[in-house]
């Protein structure tokens, strides 16, 4: 038993075949969005997509289809790096921001140290005085790592 010609899913329309009632593609590739299947098919191939979906539990197939579509779109827009290019860019972002954080925390340490060094040695704010450490005000913080 197959769906009427008029209600074939986008995949079966594209592949020019009958759309069975249990078509693996039809819940995820509605006929009103033909480009979605076209992109996924172009990058992965209908057969590979079908196999992948069949290996997943039904509750996961919608998300899997969305991610396949996203990756296909990335690959079409960037045929050399695809989605991996975005991963690489994000990794670089993480590296840059971590460096900036380390630099900023080092500056904070310098500021705090300069504040302590300005104080008289026998005051309660002396860092070398263990007793003094207990008397520090709440505003003093441990040097950041």
């Amino acid at each position: 038993m197959s769906n009427p010609i008029s209600s074939r899913c986008a995949a079966c329309k594209y592949l020019r075949r009958r759309c069975p009632q249990d078509c693996i593609f039809s819940p995820y590739f509605p006929s009103n969005d033909p480009q979605r299947f076209a992109y996924v098919h172009r990058i992965y191939g209908a057969s590979n997509v079908g196999k992948l979906l069949q290996q997943l539990p039904e509750r996961a197939r919608s998300e899997a289809t969305e991610s396949l579509y996203y990756e296909a779109l990335c690959r079409i827009q960037d045929p050399v790096y695809g989605c991996a290019g975005i991963v690489s860019w994000l990794q670089q972002q993480i590296h840059d921001v971590e460096s900036e954080i380390a630099k900023t925390q080092a500056e904070i340490t310098v500021f705090l140290n300069s504040t302590v060094n300005i104080s008289e040695p026998n005051t309660q704010y002396s860092r070398t005085n263990e007793q003094g450490m207990e008397n520090l005000t709440n505003k003093h913080k441990e040097p950041l790592q």
Binding site: R42, I43, Y44, G45, S47, N48, L52, Q55, L56, A60, E63, A64, E66, S67, L68, Y70, E71, L73, C74, R75, Q77, D78, P79, V80, Y81, G82, C83, A84, G85, I86, V87, S88, W89, L90, Q91, Q92, Q93, I94, H95, V97, E98, E100, I101, T104, Q105, E107, I108, F111, L112, T115, L144
Partner: protein, 173 residues
């Protein structure tokens, strides 16, 4: 490459490896897993078409990125590479918040040391307002931002994503 030693692709596909085999430079016979995984996810025919559409000097990077994506998809069949992107975006957002807090702290310390000089509202805004480069990048590339909220399957190791590189050199030193 061809002759006596078929490339990994031709071995797997059980065909003759010709001198102008499009796969041979990128799928040497000593690493059969590399082609196997790309073939499993994308299909040899699709990979061949993709490579043919690219100039020769870009094919190495293209193959490396396809291998990376194929590996990601095998590790996480539901979200693939997109799961990694989602995770890394969250990391970037958290780190940017940490940076904003640290920069605001420096401003506070400076204000305490020089109480006469008050930071201008634009200075405060500059430390707190993190430039949302991610969204700008994604929108510039017409990539749907709605896909950024993917979770990852439970068996993905996230820490390695920060350092994993597919270009043969560390993107993150």
């Amino acid at each position: 490459m061809g002759g006596n030693s078929p490339c990994a692709s031709c071995k797997l596909l059980r065909r003759r490896c010709t001198k102008d085999c499009i796969f041979a430079p990128y799928f040497p016979s000593d690493d059969p897993h590399r082609f196997a995984i790309v073939h499993k996810v994308f299909g040899a025919s699709n990979v061949s078409k993709m490579l043919q559409e690219l100039p020769v000097h870009q094919r190495v990077d293209a193959v490396n990125s396809l291998v990376y994506e194929a590996n990601a998809r095998v590790r996480d069949p539901v979200y693939g590479c997109v799961g990694a992107i989602s995770y890394l975006q969250n990391q970037v957002a958290q780190l940017q918040m940490q940076l904003a807090v640290a920069q605001a702290e420096i401003l506070c310390i400076q204000v305490q040391q020089e109480p006469v000089i008050m930071p201008t509202s634009s200075q405060l805004a500059a430390t707190i307002d993190g430039t949302d480069e991610k969204s700008a990048f994604l929108l510039h590339n017409n990539l749907p931002a709605q896909y950024l909220n993917f979770a990852s399957s439970s068996n993905v190791t996230h820490e390695s994503l920060k350092r994993e590189s597919f270009f043969g050199h560390d993107m993150v030193s």
